[in-house]
Amino acid sequence: MQRILNDPDRIVDEMLSGFVKCHGDIVKRVITGPDNPRGVIAAKDAPIPGKVGVVTGGGSGHKPAFVGYVGKNMCDAAAVGEIFTSPTALSFLEAFRAADGGKGVACLYGNYSGDNMNVKMAARMAKREGIQVKTVVANDDVASAPRDQREKRRGVAGEIFMWKCGGGKAAKGGSLDEVIAAAQKAIDNCHSVGIGITPCTLPAVGHPNFEIKDGTMEVGIGHHGEPGIKVCPLEDAKGMAKRMVDVVLPDHPFEAGDEVAVLVSGLGATPVMELYVLYDEIECLLKDKGIRIHRAYVGNSFTSLDMMGATLTLMKLDEELKELLDMEAWCMGFKQK
């Protein structure tokens, strides 16, 4: 395994150490109790009294997610788990503490069973401490369950739009219920799909986790390499774009005249140049359908270690979501004026 690391079992803590050193103008590390030496990552000025706290968290290996979305007008704190492993309940609890400005905490996270269990336990503990926590569970990955079982779907890159809109609402002074409602609306309007073309290697495991045969691609792959809906021969960018759009469009469904935000995220090791080639194709397909692109984001926004491939997320916009999406934001992973 050709990688840059020391002890694979300590990679998360070392990464956090470097992250905090580099982004001290945006974030800080907060340790509120002795049992969680890792602490959590919080926005530099968190908690903001009188503002609803926005919290997220999840396993590591998805950079910029999750700590890269802590900052102005996005998340106030993030709990950090081991690679591909939910943070502990204690860790979520610490994030709640770090984010709570007295108006309650909106915990906006992805639908994975570990996260579900740990957030639930943490929310219970927080309640005992007098912190009110409400949650939104992202489930935007179309490929992970049929439409009538949306509650079973995984959360993927759509989470970024959920944080942006929830975080924006909180920054505008929204109440906990308003923040939850905005974040819920955002994720309900998000539909994503991924295509994997190479597997990823967990540093502590040392060999690829699963196989994607040369010359094939996995349509609907999850952010941890969870197998997708279909393995098919590798296609060109045009073919991949069509496949992604064909999965995502009918799901909302998106229709001519709809205004959308588009996010094309690399899975980690795909050169960004190729993401623009892919976006170029996607834009053409959306235009052809009469869909209007309000904003587009292209980059490695939600990754899976060294996996090659990309995800497409479309969010249907209304006036409220547009206003929230357009707000300034300043995190390591999301800088917008």
Partner: protein, 213 residues
């Protein structure tokens, strides 16, 4: 009636640790097939940390289970933190700090672990999770406790039940956890949690067998 001294728990616990450490790669591979490949890594990290913190100390079986469970819950996270954390801590509570553990008590501990788990997950037998290993093991112990089977025989029965349960996950379709989204594609591979649970129950049984008197 056969029993073992709660105070001699150290060897049982270390046997469980050894079982996980020895199967770290295997558990990772099994999880890699239809999950995300981290199961061996996380389990190994948690169990190894526990062994390190235990050091050379003696510990009762029930206290050790509590410490191990709390460590998994508070320091490892993932699905395994809350799941095994809950199971082990509930088992510990049910032991009620008794000095000797006989079959009825051990069966009650195991049932408490399963019930604690049912409190936090929706999975039930047949859903291709570790419940498929744990549930038949508990059933088997319960039945043997009621029938007054010898402890040693009951442990052998429990092992067989756990193994059969684990094996059954191979042909099941996952409905919870990461592999749930695979549908039909999840068949043909055992569940990772069911696999680690089988290893743990076997190691626990072996550890107890060596102490029985």
């Amino acid at each position: 009636m056969a029993c073992f001294a709660n105070g001699e728990g150290r060897s049982i616990l270390l046997n469980m640790v050894k079982a996980i450490q020895g199967h770290k790669e295997y558990l990772g591979e099994v999880d890699g097939l239809i999950g995300d490949g981290d199961h061996g890594m996380n389990m190994n990290k948690g169990f190894t940390l526990y062994a390190e913190e235990l050091g050379e100390d003696a510990v009762t079986f029930s206290d050790g289970l509590f410490d191990l469970g709390a460590l998994l819950l508070n320091r490892i996270g993932g699905s395994m933190g809350p799941i095994y954390g809950t199971v082990f801590m509930e088992m510990s509570d049910a032991a009620n700090e008794m000095e000797e553990v006989d079959l009825p008590l051990f069966a009650a501990m195991m049932r408490a672990g399963l019930e604690g788990l049912y409190d936090i997950v929706d999975a039930r037998p047949g859903d291709k999770t570790l419940v498929d290993t744990l549930h038949p093991a508990v059933q088997s112990l319960d039945a043997d406790a009621r029938q007054g089977t010898a402890f040693r025989d009951a442990l052998a029965n429990m092992r067989a039940a756990a193994e059969a349960g684990w094996k059954s996950t191979e042909s099941l379709m996952a409905r919870y956890g990461r592999s749930a989204r695979l549908g039909e594609r999840s068949r043909g591979v055992p569940d990772a949690g069911a696999t680690s649970c089988k290893l743990i129950l076997w190691a626990m049984a072996e550890g107890i067998e060596a102490l029985l008197r």
